[in-house]
């Protein structure tokens, strides 16, 4: 069971109810639950959208698209039903924040889904959890059933004359299904192969209807934003990056865990103060700042604010908020190999640059790591990865290429140290098998 962590630097908004038994509906209600949705009904659609825009909330799934704006793109009139889709596929290595939300505050996800539904004029929402999260699915299912039992879901919610239904759904193991259009395919009972865009989901999404898709954390933030007011929420964060987010600090730190920090919080402080510094008395070598697809930062590059814009300026991305901390005894070639192995495994195989590129990268980096590489391999790795960028139907190709380019650019010397039959300088007892 995930361990809850606390740190005085945290600002608890979305995690306010964690550890307080809020999976129980009465407890949730006692902790201001289902108030935001009633206010939303009272004040109407324009107010919801205005508050969401004022909040500066940007999507917590990885891309950081402004949520209020996303909702406002959905056409008011539509012949086909509109849908809200909550993305709880959470599969980006280094990321386990939605896990904690489903566990500790499932009703916040339900309430956020209802508010999104009101905002776009939808009568039905889906909450999709990755298949591995069975125990969390059961928590969500119970929460949904309890909300129906109280009359919060179903016909005429809170006397508004509006109907709203929620269905929970399980995946069955596939990272690619986290991509928004692949998720819609999966929910329609198909292979998780993405769709060509445009049309975008806001216009043609699930079952051909206009669809808002948001990450589970984005959705769970919504009731809090309406309770405290969009502007107040925005103020907690940094410029154009409203509020707080759940950061997962993992790897070589003394106190790994999911912490809620204001947007723009300094990465170095997050590692050394919040995360308690590097474990085993070692030194920092590198940080993968936002899940495995985000380009690596060296130990000298971490004095930077954790928001979408500052991370972009630093040449990487805020991504999913999964901060993976790497100490000086780690082999970066092995780390690069494990990363590309994942993307190769998860490529859906539709685009040649992604399908073949990830396979070649895995083979080449694997060979270099095993000591069988030649000098030319290093340029080839970079050339291959750079030529995948932007040449695929969905961003998984980029997600594989970007970190690879980062590793070979910033840690080229470690790749060189493996060439010409030299053994891995950081070798430990168990070498990764290439499965």
């Amino acid at each position: 069971m995930p361990r809850l962590v606390f740190h005085p630097e945290e600002v608890k908004i979305i995690s306010r109810r964690f550890g307080q038994g809020a999976a129980d509906i009465d407890k949730y209600i006692a902790l201001d639950g289902y108030k935001a949705v009633q206010t939303a009904i009272e004040k109407g659609v324009d107010w919801i959208i205005a508050e969401m825009k004022a909040s500066g909330l940007r999507g917590r799934g990885g891309a950081g698209f402004p949520t209020g704006m996303k909702w406002s793109f959905v056409p008011k009139q539509s012949e086909r039903p509109k849908y809200v889709l909550v993305n709880g596929d959470e599969s980006e290595p280094g990321t386990c924040k939605d896990h904690v939300i489903f566990l500790h505050d499932p009703h916040a996800v339900i309430e956020g889904t209802m508010i999104a539904g009101l905002a776009i004029g939808s009568k039905m929402g889906f909450i999709y959890l990755r298949g591995e999260y069975r125990y969390l699915l059961k928590i969500m299912e119970k929460a949904v059933a309890d909300a129906y039992a109280k009359g919060f879901l179903g016909k005429n919610i809170f006397g508004s004359g509006i109907d709203f239904d929620i269905v929970t759904q399980t995946g069955a193991g596939a990272y690619e299904v986290g991509e928004e259009s692949a998720l819609m395919e999966s929910l329609e009972g198909k292979r998780g192969v993405p769709r060509i865009k445009p049309p975008f989901p806001a216009v043609v999404g699930l079952y051909g209807g206009p669809t808002v898709i948001n990450n589970a954390e984005t959705i769970a933030s919504v009731p809090h934003i309406l309770l405290m007011g969009g502007e107040a929420y925005a103020k907690v964060g940094s410029e154009r990056n409203g509020g707080t987010r759940l950061f997962g600090i993992s790897g070589h730190v003394v106190n790994p865990g999911v912490y809620e920090l204001p947007m723009g919080y300094n990465l170095k402080k997050a590692i050394y103060e919040v995360g308690g510094g590097i474990s085993n008395g070692r030194k920092l070598k590198a940080v993968v700042p936002g899940g495995s697809s985000t380009p690596v930062l060296t130990a000298d590059e971490i004095d930077v604010g954790l928001d979408f814009d500052q991370m972009g300026k630093a040449g990487t991305m805020l991504g999913s908020g999964g901060i993976v901390v790497i100490d000086d005894q780690t082999c970066m070639v092995e780390f690069a190999l494990r990363t590309i192995k994942f993307y190769q495994h998860e490529s859906c195989g539709w685009c040649i640059p992604c399908r073949e590129g990830t396979d070649w990268l895995k083979k080449t980096i694997g060979r270099v790591h095993a000591g069988g590489g030649v000098a030319k391999d290093l340029d080839n790795i970079r050339y291959l990865a750079e030529n995948m960028l932007g040449r695929t139907f969905c961003p998984l190709g980029d997600a594989a290429a970007m970190p690879t380019i980062g590793f070979i650019k910033k840690f080229r010397h470690e790749f060189e140290d493996h060439l010409n039959g030299k053994p891995c300088p950081y070798a430990h007892a168990e070498e990764p098998a290439l499965v």
């Binding site: 599969s91 280094g94 995946g171 990272y175 009972g189 079952y207």
Partner: protein, 169 residues
Amino acid sequence: MSTSATTIFSPETAARFDRLVTLYPVKRSALIPMLLYAQDEIGYISDAVVVEIAQRIGISELDVRSVLSYYSMLRTKPVGKYNVQVCTNISCMLRDGYGIMEHCKKRLGIGHKEVTSDGLFSLEEVECIGACCWAPAVQINYDFYDDLTTEKMDQILDDYKAGRGKETV
């Protein structure tokens, strides 16, 4: 379809399937959950599972097989009663996920995707299971174990062997 007479599933699962196909705007949306729940009961997706699910949804068996081959949790062969899934992805790797994997191999005497001769355990190296901050992490069937050491792993395997393991379905 009238289920009780013809179904290969338990009455509870059959009833769940009857309900699942009514939940969505299209029946086919029930396919992936049905496959997973069928697997939970039967142990894997057998030919008979494919036939019945195709009928229940009203799609071809080929459609079912095509979907089933995409998702990594769905399998067409039985595994051990307790499927030990060791995460070796980055956050777990940094905290000795490979050490846990090697330890399980030795302890169980089997390799990746193999089953012990008594059918009790199978072992699998898996991608990130969403427990990175509590690494290294393992899932046994649907139950999570985290902050593992080789000693803790031994204890957990002993518990399962003695029939004391958790069993979430």
